[in-house]
């Protein structure tokens, strides 16, 4: 298991199941509520009129209990794939996915609340909460150069009452989440096709080209979601990212890479297809003293009953057939966005 002690712990899957299913009172940490106090999503960021106008069936359903957040999660070893495959040979991992431990409020203490925000309840011991998303270095901290750390600390203060536009978290403007934040914001779809893996997020999409011979775009082009080339190694989707513009920031704690970063990603899937761990190694000599790795656990959602307006915003399709088909409405954030702080700041 990944845990906040920074070392592997061996726990039986039954315990994981118990954490998943049985600890809802513990799982929805206070930090989650605090984290989402500011409007962010296509729905949370709308004016009331907009909400009424664009509310989806999923959103008008009485609030469901969000699946409990994990405090630890299993390591998944890279290895062979024994699960089902698509006709083109890819492991079949298509579906609705979302991260399991928290959102983008705090990268190094994902269940510790937004940095600098008052808490209603005091935090307990650090080891009671999910580990830092930084899995390397072992101390869970970003290996910033001094200038960059100073910028992050400025952001963490300015974020709470931004007077500098650079301190508005780009996601609040419905900017694309970029890499890696798109994987721990709202839930997302992964779709697969011969030659491609496609991610569809709440604001934008990302196309992974499964073609090693297709060259990256010219270096001058910088993109929110980068330019991705991938291939499968057994149960692992290995992706090489270039052309990333660094603008998305990593979350409300303000960490970032520059536009000269390169990213090597591994999406390591469990053979039962129920979950994967993301391991992204970022190399950026202009901001950091060494490469670092971010680990993000994710689970697949398969039932309408788990629709919670965040991780899953889907419903059973209407049809006369016998099988249940889960489907998602259009994902449009920007146009529905009421502006940061419910319109206090233009989007």
């Amino acid at each position: 298991m990944y845990s906040n002690s920074g070392k592997w712990q061996v726990e039986v899957s039954a315990l994981v199941f118990g954490v998943l299913m049985g600890a809802s009172s513990l799982g929805i940490a206070a930090d989650e509520k605090l984290t989402e106090k500011k409007p962010q999503s296509s729905q949370e960021n709308k004016t009331e009129a907009q909400k009424k106008e664009t509310a989806t069936p999923a959103q008008t359903t009485p609030a469901q209990t969000r699946r409990p957040r994990e405090k630890s999660f299993p390591k998944i070893a890279s290895g062979s794939w024994t699960g089902s495959r698509l006709a083109d040979g890819q492991p079949d991992i298509s579906g609705f996915w979302s991260n399991t431990i928290g959102n983008h409020g705090n990268l190094t203490d994902p269940q510790g609340g937004v940095i600098g925000e008052a808490r209603r309840t005091p935090l307990g011991p650090r080891e009671e909460r999910a580990p830092s998303r930084v899995s390397d270095p072992a101390d869970g901290q970003f290996p910033f150069q001094p200038w960059a750390l100073a910028k992050v600390k400025e952001f963490q203060v300015g974020f709470h009452n931004p007077t500098n536009p650079a301190h508005v978290e780009p996601n609040a403007r419905c900017a694309p989440g970029g890499i890696p934040k798109s994987l721990y914001w709202h839930g997302y779809d992964i779709l697969q096709y011969p030659g491609y893996v496609l991610f569809v997020f709440d604001n934008g999409s990302r196309i992974i080209h499964l073609d090693k011979n297709k060259p990256h775009l010219p270096e001058k082009l910088k993109l929110w979601n980068g330019d991705s080339r991938g291939h499968w190694e057994g149960n692992t989707l290995v992706v090489d990212v270039s052309n990333h513009n660094g603008k998305a920031l990593f979350g409300r704690s303000g960490e970032f890479v520059s536009e000269s970063a390169t990213i090597k990603e591994k999406y390591i899937f469990a053979n039962d297809g129920s979950r994967y761990n993301y391991e992204g190694t970022f190399t950026d000599p202009t901001v950091y003293t060494r490469p670092f790795t971010i680990t993000i656990p994710a689970i697949k959602y398969t039932r309408e009953e788990e629709t919670d307006g965040w991780n899953l915003e889907a419903r059973w399709a209407k049809h006369t057939g016998k099988t249940q088909i889960l489907e998602h409405d259009e994902r449009i954030c920007h146009e529905n966005n009421g502006g940061f702080g419910l319109g206090a700041t233009p989007k």
Binding site: L198, N203, E335
Partner: protein, 290 residues
């Protein structure tokens, strides 16, 4: 020899060509007969080649297909038409090339009140076109907007990813129906069925915030679009759509555009989230200037 006499139509109502075909077998002169035979052969070959060319163009076995046999529209597509400048016939102007329009019958049948709004939209097009803000283009505009879009296709659906903007459209092909108690969506709700090799898509439940082109043609939230997607050959799609909207149009009307497959080596979409351009200079942090 006066062939014109030989081939003269026997009755004023028969065409020269018909008459020549009728007359050929009755020719007496051997030399002429040979020439006639050669001509007949030539015509036959020409006709045959016409038929085979035509057959190639519509050879339903040569278009890409999914494993389930349905046409596979996967690929990156784009129109070369000037439809997005103005769906209706228009002369050149400072912000648009001339164009014959793509509306069947020429003009969109606006209701009188709607026509006033369309005129106002036209006057304010330099500022009011939602596309200028990088907004969702909507349906059908995203199909003929002059930027590429990629179709990803499975048996259960088609996913349309535009280069312009961020709005991914799903066309369901799994016998599902429009949802009950639906909302108004930027892209509407798309449910499709196959009629032979033609994909017929019923799209409704729109909002009223998108335009149909940059000249201010518009619709209300009562818009319904029925699209027909069909391969002309493996690299060309004929796209037809019927638009109806009782709040805005007096009757349904039709458009047609041709979409071409991008075949450039290594061609790919390049994200164009231009709605971020007003603030993207603030990110990421940079070292302070010394």
């Amino acid at each position: 020899m006066n062939t014109s006499q030989t081939y003269r139509p026997s009755t004023p109502n028969q065409s020269r060509l018909q008459q020549s075909w009728l007359k050929l077998p009755t020719l007496k002169n051997d030399k002429l007969k040979k020439m006639g035979s050669a001509l007949l052969l030539l015509i036959s070959v020409f006709t045959f080649s016409l038929v085979t060319t035509s057959a190639d163009a519509h050879d339903s076995t040569k278009i890409p297909r999914l494993a389930n046999g349905k046409p596979d529209f996967s690929g990156i597509w784009q129109t070369t038409s000037a439809a997005d400048y103005d769906l209706e016939p228009h002369s050149n102007r400072k912000d648009a090339p001339p164009g014959p329009g793509i509306v069947e019958g020429g003009e969109i049948p606006y209701l009188p009140k709607a026509l006033e709004k369309r005129k106002k939209n036209f006057e304010n097009r330099a500022t009011d076109d939602p596309a200028l803000k990088g907004y969702t283009l909507g349906v059908p505009r995203a199909v003929y907007y002059p930027e590429p879009f990629q179709i990803f296709q499975r048996a259960r659906d088609l996913t349309l990813v535009p280069q312009f903007g961020h709005s991914v459209r799903t066309i369901h092909t799994n016998n599902t129906e429009h949802p009950e108690d639906p909302n108004d969506w930027w892209l509407g709700d798309s449910r499709a069925k196959w009629e032979g090799d033609t994909l017929v898509v019923d799209v409704k439940h729109f909002n009223d915030k998108t335009w149909l082109d940059r000249s201010g043609n518009f619709h209300s939230d009562a818009l319904q679009v029925v699209e027909r997607w069909k391969f002309l050959d493996s690299n060309t799609i004929e796209y037809k759509a019927t638009l109806s909207d009782e709040q805005v149009f007096s009757k349904p009307w039709n458009i047609t555009v041709i979409l071409y497959r991008h075949r450039e080596k290594n061609f790919q979409l390049i994200e164009d989230y231009r709605y971020t351009l007003d603030y993207d200079q603030y990110y990421p942090p940079k070292p302070d200037q010394k």
